[in-house]
Amino acid sequence: MTPLKPISRGAQVALGVAFFALFIAAWSAATFGGFVPKTFLADPLAMLREGAELFTKHGFAKDIAYTVWRVVGGFVLAASLAVPLGIAMGAWKPVEAFFEPFISFSRYLPASAFIPLLILWAGIGEAQKLALIFIGAFFPMTLMIAVKVGATRRDLVEAAYTLGCSDWGVVKRVLLPASAPEIAEILRTVLGWAWTYVIVAELIGSERGIGHMITDSQALLNTGQIIFGIIVIGCIGLVSDYAFKALNRRLFAWGA
C-alpha cells in the first residue's frame, strides 16, 4: 500500500464498519461458543435484553440524563473559567508567569484521588460530581489554550499593529479569531475526558447515573447490564464528538 494515499469515502466507511462487525463476531464466538462462562461475559443478545430491561424496569433513561447533566455542567463550568484564563495567559506573559507553574503542577494531580476529599467537603451530591469533572478538565484545558493562543503567528500580529491595531485590538481581533478553531478542538478533546471522570465519580458514592448502575450490576454479577452501560457511554461520547466536530467545521469554514 502506498503511504499517505487517500481512499474513497465508501471504502473508508466500509473498513470502519468492518472492524465493528469483526469485534461483535469475535464476542459472539467467545460467548455463544461456550468458551467463556456467562458469569464473566454476557453474550450480545443477553446484553441487548438486559439493556431493554434497564430502560423498562429500572428507569435507566433517568440515569443517563443525570450523567449527561453532570458532564455538561462540570464541563461548562471548567470551560467558562479556563477559556478566558487560557487566553489571558497566552496573550500576556506576566499573567502566564503568575499562573503557569501552579496550573502545570495541578494538572498532574490525579483528579480521581480527590474523590475522598471531595466527598468530605461536598458529600456525595451533585456538587461533588461537578467538582471532580472541574478538577479533571480545568487545568489541562487552561494550559492547552494558553499554549495555542501564545503560538499565534507573529507576522499576523505585526501586520495588525501596522494597520493601527491597539494592544487590546490585537487580542480581540487577531489572537482570539486566530486560535478560535484550535480552542474549539481543545474543548472537544477535554469533553471526552470529562466522560471518563464522571463515570469514576459515579462509581464511588452515587445514587444515580450510568456509573452507579454499573456498580449495582457488578454486585448482581449482571455483566450484560455493565456492558450495555459501557456501550451507551461510548455511543453518547461518539455522538457528542461528531456534533462538536460538525459545529467546528461550520463555524471555522475559513480554515482547513
Binding site: 507576522d155 501596522t162 493601527g164 478560535a180 469554514a253 475559513w254
Partner: protein, 262 residues
C-alpha cells in the same frame, strides 16, 4: 525641503544568545526619504535591510539613533506606515473585503463607507469579484495584491514593503511590479521597498540604496532616471542595462564578503 522620513544614525545590535556574542545587524545608518520618493533598499540576504525596515515600521527598536516621520520620532507601529510583508499575512478568518477594511474598522469607519472604499481598492488591484473569498482560496499573487490594498486603504504616509513579491514566481512577480509601479505613478505615495533583486529595484525605484554585507549600512546611493510612466519594456533598454551593470558590481562585492564571513 525637510525629508518626509529621516533615518538618523540608526543601528541595531541583537543581545547575546546564551554563551554567544551580541550580533550587530545594522551599523549606524542614515537615509533621507523625500515626499513622493520611491526608494529601493537593495542588498544580499542577511545584510540587515529588513531590520532597518522593521525599525521604521516600529516593529523593532533601534539600539541607537532615531527615525523621524514628518519630524516626529517613531516609537511604535502605527497606521501612518503601511507595511506589506514577504510572508502571506492576510487574516485567514476574514474575507478579502474584510481584510482590506481591517484598518478602517479599527479606526471606527462605518461599515458602508468601509465597504465602498474596500471596493474601490479591490477594483484598482484587480480583485473585483473576489470580495467574499477567504485567503486560502487565493493564489499567492492575489494574496499579496490584497495585502497591498489592505495597506493602501489605510491611506498611510509611507508604504513599507519587505520583499513583498519574494515568494512569487517570476511571471507573477513582474506583473506585481508593474501594478505597484502604476499605483505609485498614480498616487505618488512615498515608498520604501526592500529587495535583493537588482532588476526589481531599478525597474520601480527612483533611487536605489545599496546595503553592505552584515553588519549592514547603506554604502551607496544611486538615482534611477528612467522617467515615468515606466513601461516593462524599459527592462531591455541600454540605460537599464547600464544601471544593472553598476549595481551588479556593488552587490557582488558585498555578497562575496557575506559568503566568506559565513
Amino acid at each position: 525641503m525637510a525629508a518626509k522620513l529621516l533615518i538618523d544614525a540608526v543601528s541595531r545590535t541583537f543581545p547575546a544568545a546564551r554563551g554567544g556574542k551580541p550580533t550587530q545587524a545594522l551599523q549606524p545608518t542614515n537615509l533621507a526619504v523625500d515626499d513622493e520618493d520611491f526608494i529601493a533598499i537593495l542588498g544580499p540576504s542577511g545584510c540587515g535591510k529588513s531590520t532597518l525596515l522593521r525599525i521604521v515600521a516600529g516593529l523593532d527598536a533601534a539600539t541607537s539613533g532615531r527615525v523621524l516621520l514628518d519630524g516626529v520620532p517613531i516609537v511604535k507601529p502605527g497606521p501612518d506606515r503601511g507595511m506589506v510583508f514577504q510572508s502571506y499575512t492576510l487574516f485567514p478568518w476574514l474575507t478579502v473585503r474584510e481584510n482590506i477594511g481591517f484598518g478602517m474598522r479599527e479606526r471606527g469607519v462605518a461599515a458602508v463607507e468601509r465597504d465602498a472604499r474596500a471596493g474601490e481598492f479591490m477594483k484598482r488591484m484587480g480583485l473585483a469579484g473576489f470580495e467574499g473569498h477567504y485567503p486560502k482560496q487565493l493564489s499567492g499573487g492575489m494574496q499579496q495584491r490584497t495585502a497591498l490594498a489592505r495597506a493602501l486603504a489605510n491611506d498611510p504616509e509611507i508604504l513599507l514593503l519587505d520583499e513583498p513579491f519574494g515568494a512569487l514566481d517570476q511571471q507573477t512577480r513582474s506583473l506585481m511590479q508593474e501594478l505597484l509601479l502604476e499605483t505609485w505613478e498614480a498616487s505618488r505615495k512615498t515608498v520604501l521597498f526592500v529587495t535583493h533583486d537588482i532588476d526589481e529595484a531599478i525597474f520601480m525605484a527612483s533611487r536605489v540604496a545599496v546595503f553592505s554585507a552584515r553588519p549592514g549600512r547603506i554604502k551607496h546611493e544611486m538615482a534611477v532616471d528612467l522617467g515615468h510612466p515606466r513601461h516593462y519594456t524599459v527592462k531591455t533598454s541600454p540605460e537599464f542595462a547600464a544601471y544593472k551593470a553598476r549595481l551588479t558590481e556593488e552587490i557582488r562585492a558585498e555578497a562575496m564578503k557575506a559568503l566568506v564571513e559565513l
